[in-house]
Symmetry: C2
């Protein structure tokens, strides 16, 4: 479409010039900070190696994504995911390379559960023989697997699952059966249209010893949920096997490209070998249950998923913040009210009401980063211990991963939306690059354990730790948390509870204040639950706040420790990072000022000064904002944002998307209501619904 | 699709039984409350009259909505909107009837701007002759109009608009011209594909008196933005006229059915009569500007839109809360942790961590209701005054509508998402009924004045009022706010600033506490701005909090006044409404406890008890929750929610949507990555992108 708009340019100063100035005004070392943040496991090298390969493929072009229907989005994603696997074969990519390609393409892959939970479960729960049989087929994608645990009526409470796996001793088979509609498997990714196999979690029912093999319901005993590997579709026709109903559950908030599925069984028989039997099993000779050595094993893979979510969070938020910072640095709005009316309009990012929304989130990306790294280290250590049959750290790991998953995904989900709203009107448009990001990420606060619900797991662990600490406050410390608790108890016993912390100028005191506040809340919860014997459910809100406080304390502590021990950052960059640490901690504190006051950790005088201190920190950080987001090195291809592009050509890009790429503009419509015709030349519209 | 799932039922107790029990356990009068809330202007009668007509139309069926692409959603919406107008003609609907039909169908109508801002602007800004010429064509939809003000580079700051309307004295025409890309009109609803006319807001440029008519840039004077009525498309071909480029801006977060447009002009000539000239104009003989009598007139229609948004808010939030309450009453999860393990799973709504998210929002729907009514009354009064050339109340009205628009749309946008997350996993699914609601409503925090930005308009007004009050605290009160301010100043002067309010058991004191806190913040802002002469921009965060506090005070006050003066509600229902008032006010206060403390309004002892008081109130309200949402009378057709349906058949509906209505399940896919084929029998997938 050539027309007079071709020669038009945006008003001046335009984006490129503005971003150049922004970059010139800061002495932050983008290269140094990017290396510091992203050298782990060769992330940056990998990104620059994979990106050009991906960008060359027409199928991986993103420009029409938002115009597709949900069925078309799934189809496209399946074709894309196949292409990625072919590229992997061609270029000899390892797993990390493939994950990088997926990350850049940014579809939730229809094969995701195959590559993650399905293969992880086989690896972790299958016997050696089962592993040897299944793993090669899985790795070659000769079979595609899903993970079917959640049911229509049952999510977090796994014990409540209704699907039955009843042992038939005569045939040595299990009979999978869905007794109700709510027993339908539900939400299971990759299952709806893609997979031909699945891990199916069902209640294991064994005949009572001595009962006749044709026993009735009453003669079976339930051993709780167990994982089975089951072929669910025909390998040629891809139709569900007889006795199985499967399908995709339909449209969702996000995850359009993922075929979350449902599945029901009608007395469907599977062989004895289907039960994954690394830790438990059924003796085929006697029909007797073989118990696992440790009950705790099961939360291994859940913890892995949660640790992963925590790690992943930083780059998700960094995307939103990158868009927000670059665009609000470019966007101009209103002249200075106190000026003479002749000055230029001000950059939106210079308004404190915009800064207060974006800059604390910029600081949060770094807080998430250091905690993610720490989490990964702890996870790997715990994993090694488990492989050596040592389960000592698992409870701590589980508690930490639950609380952090809850807090971090809430911060990021809310953070994306806060960034989006800070963009003003254009944040609502498709050029923001934040719509799919937001829609997909909104699954995270509920998936893998609802954020409010799992805070109980953290709180429960903390109360146990506090109970131990109260019982023997003078004994040796078992770990950091134990130390904090015992010190708190001893000071309490000695009546020393005036802390005199200086959070306005002492970084160590900031860390202390977060630890002390979490400890004080832990002690209160211990009092209510253990001493006053309050019912668990009546304490839930308090326990949520406890888990949150503890997790905030971890974020602040890890940020502090990372800066304290780092020796790689150039000094001027390091100083900016310290300001970001302060901004993260103090803006977090400001939001909960009353709690810091009522736990007696920080005094009124200091807390009253907090808003001014936060504003000062924002003023310090403001000149470096563009370079700080640059350091996250998020490629334009991934951002897919007119507002957030590196070169600042915001308005050209927005106009191009509308004027040249929008398919709706290729149709001419008829606005006359007395005529049925909707598109010029097309008599009626019922076709739209009829075609489905 | 007949199969073994046909005979399956959900596990027991199922939704219908549970909701019956919920309804039986409360003595609330649904009929009484519904009448109390919704009898105004015949709302309930209208709803029950229009609904059956709408529901009969196959084109208005919603079951495939979420499977359509954005272009198809627009097409369908246009066909539907035409149908509604034909139904209106057929059934003799008045404007309110038509609006009811739109509300129930729940598409953002492609004709929306024609029916609202376009015709309102003609009605309010056109001269009598212009009105007479245009209004009949508008009412018959012979022409379809849009409202084109916002530009690609210019939103809130209307003075910054770039589009020029230059007076050519020789031809007595205006020349519309877009000098840059950022001057492109942008976001203008109804313009992208539907409209053939538009109100176009452009900078009016007149030759300097004495300058030659062929004058250069320097010889023109700008008179600021003015509205013109312009034909933009050919009435036959519906193509843009020569010299105009128009299109739809493309996909957005929500508003898929609305064709928000862009438009540029290349020296496009329009006649003198295009300038809407009720208040100002250009003398065609002299080329001189005719000034408006009052500069304030322009915010009339903006205020109307904001007042409308405030009024509308309650029913939007009520939808989300209806879904949340019904579903969480039905959904069971976990047995009581303190029980013996044999009891049934508990209703999710019985967990305090679920109550704290949903029940304060339930209370908020009523708070929004009473303030919306008050707003409407004040708006109508002010409107009558303006028609009589009295502009005295306009500043107050403008300030109030700005602050309330900001607070109420934030409460509702955040509230919908809070409800959605409280639904757990199924909240992410298409059966929640909250996805489109959320996506559409997310426009509200930025549209018609960004929520952070417009808080300045409220704050500025309040500071002026406070300045007057400080100057003469003993003079007669001009209005309620003036009274509060002057009393505060007098008490301050007399050193009486211990309030001794009892917010835990005195409802009047709750109201007082909100008013006093807002007044104290107003005084602080006055101090900083007027006395300490701080720069306006440095105070923006504080001004935002001031506007918020003042608007919260209005919500609390209006709620209290409405209950105090109402004589229609049955006593037991009234008592529940009082608890809802308390819950709204005290949970709002709890979120800002530090501010109530630091302004000296409420003491530590009372504030410390707030969480327990809020929990008690939730326990009081819990048994009535289902009947309370029933009272909003939101029909299932509008809710379009498996989770929120009146009869509680949640799981049957979810299963039906997936198993019978999901078009993706009609296709069989090929998961083998070494084959290009994606759909069985279809060789390649590039078709998906190629077709666009």
């Amino acid at each position: 479409m050539r027309d007079f708009t071709d020669k038009l340019r945006p008003s001046q100063p335009a984006g490129p010039e503005i971003l150049s100035k922004e970059r010139a005004q800061s002495d932050l070392s983008v290269e140094g900070l990017a290396h510091h943040l992203l050298h782990h496991n060769g992330f940056l090298e990998r990104q620059s190696r994979i990106l050009p390969i991906i960008q060359k493929e027409p199928l991986l072009d993103k420009s029409q994504q938002q115009n597709l229907s949900r069925p078309d989005l799934y189809k496209q994603a399946l074709a894309r995911a196949k292409l990625l696997r072919r590229l992997a074969d061609k270029h000899g990519w390892n797993h990390a390379d493939y994950k990088m390609a997926e990350y850049l393409v940014d579809d939730v892959s229809p094969y995701m559960l195959h590559m993650e939970m399905f293969s992880t479960t086989i690896r972790e729960q299958a016997s050696d023989a089962q592993r040897a049989y299944w793993m090669p087929q899985i790795e070659k994608w000769q079979i595609i697997g899903a993970y079917a645990q959640t049911e229509l009526g049952h999510g977090s409470n796994v014990r409540g699952l209704e699907l039955e796996a009843r042992w038939d001793h005569q045939t040595k088979q299990f009979i999978l059966h869905s007794p109700t509609l709510t027993a339908s498997k539900w939400w299971n990714g990759t299952l709806g249209r893609t997979a031909n196999h699945a891990i199916v979690v069902a209640q294991l029912l064994l005949p009572r010893p001595g009962a006749s093999s044709a026993g009735k319901e009453a003669e079976y005993t339930s051993y709780g949920p167990h994982p089975f590997i089951v072929q669910v579709r025909d390998m040629k026709s891809h139709q569900p096997l007889d006795g199985i109903v499967i399908g995709d559950i339909g449209p969702k908030y996000g995850y359009a490209t993922m075929d979350n599925g449902y599945m029901l069984f009608d007395h469907f028989r599977i062989p004895h070998s289907a039960l994954l039997s690394r830790y438990s099993g059924v003796d085929p000779k006697t029909g007797q249950y073989i118990k696992p050595e440790k009950a705790v094993v099961v939360y291994g893979s859940l913890t892995a998923v949660r640790a992963n979510i925590v790690q992943h969070a930083r780059l998700v938020l960094a995307r939103a913040v990158t868009v927000a910072v670059r665009y609000t640095a470019i966007r101009r709005q209103f002249r200075d009210r106190d000026g003479d009316g002749s000055g230029p309009e001000l950059a939106v990012l210079d308004y404190p009401t915009v800064q207060i929304r974006i800059l604390p989130l910029l600081a949060t990306t770094f807080a998430l980063h250091y905690t993610g790294l720490a989490m990964q280290r702890i996870y790997e250590g715990t994993r090694r211990e488990i492989e050596a049959n040592n389960f000592n750290s698992l409870a701590h790991m589980h508690s930490m991963s639950s609380g952090l998953k809850s807090l971090c995904t809430t911060l990021v989900a809310d953070g994306i939306e806060t960034c989006r709203r800070a963009l003003g009107g254009h944040g609502f448009g498709g050029g923001s690059g934040l719509i799919q990001l937001n829609n997909d990420y909104l699954s995270k606060p509920t998936v893998e354990g609802d954020n409010w619900m799992i805070s109980q797991q953290t709180a429960s662990y903390i109360i146990k730790k506090m109970t131990t600490a109260v019982a023997s406050p003078n004994s040796r410390y078992n770990d950091e948390l134990d130390g904090q608790f015992k010190e708190y108890i001893r000071q309490k016993q000695q009546g020393k509870q005036k802390y005199g912390l200086d959070i306005l100028s002492n970084d160590q005191d900031i860390v202390r204040s977060f630890q002390l506040r979490a400890t004080a809340l832990a002690y209160d919860a211990y009092q209510e639950r253990v001493v006053n014997k309050k019912s668990w459910n009546s304490l839930l809100i308090q326990l949520y706040r406890l888990s949150r406080a503890q997790s905030q304390s971890i974020l602040v502590t890890k940020f502090f420790q990372a800066l304290t021990t780092d020796a790689s950052l150039p000094p001027s960059t390091k100083e900016i990072m310290w300001d970001l640490f302060r901004l993260f901690a103090l803006s977090t504190m400001e939001a909960d000022r009353y709690e810091f006051l009522s736990t007696g950790v920080v005094n009124r005088e200091q807390l009253d000064k907090l808003p001014a201190r936060v504003r000062d920190l924002m003023t310090q950080i403001r000149p470096h904002a563009v370079k700080l987001v640059d350091s996250w090195m998020i490629p334009d291809y991934l951002l897919d944002s007119a507002l957030g592009r590196y070169d600042g050509r915001v308005y050209e890009d927005l106009f191009n998307r509308a004027h040249r790429l929008n398919p709706l503009n290729k149709l001419t419509f008829n606005p006359n209501y007395w005529e049925n015709e909707v598109i010029m030349g097309t008599p009626d519209l019922r076709l739209v619904t009829a075609k489905l």
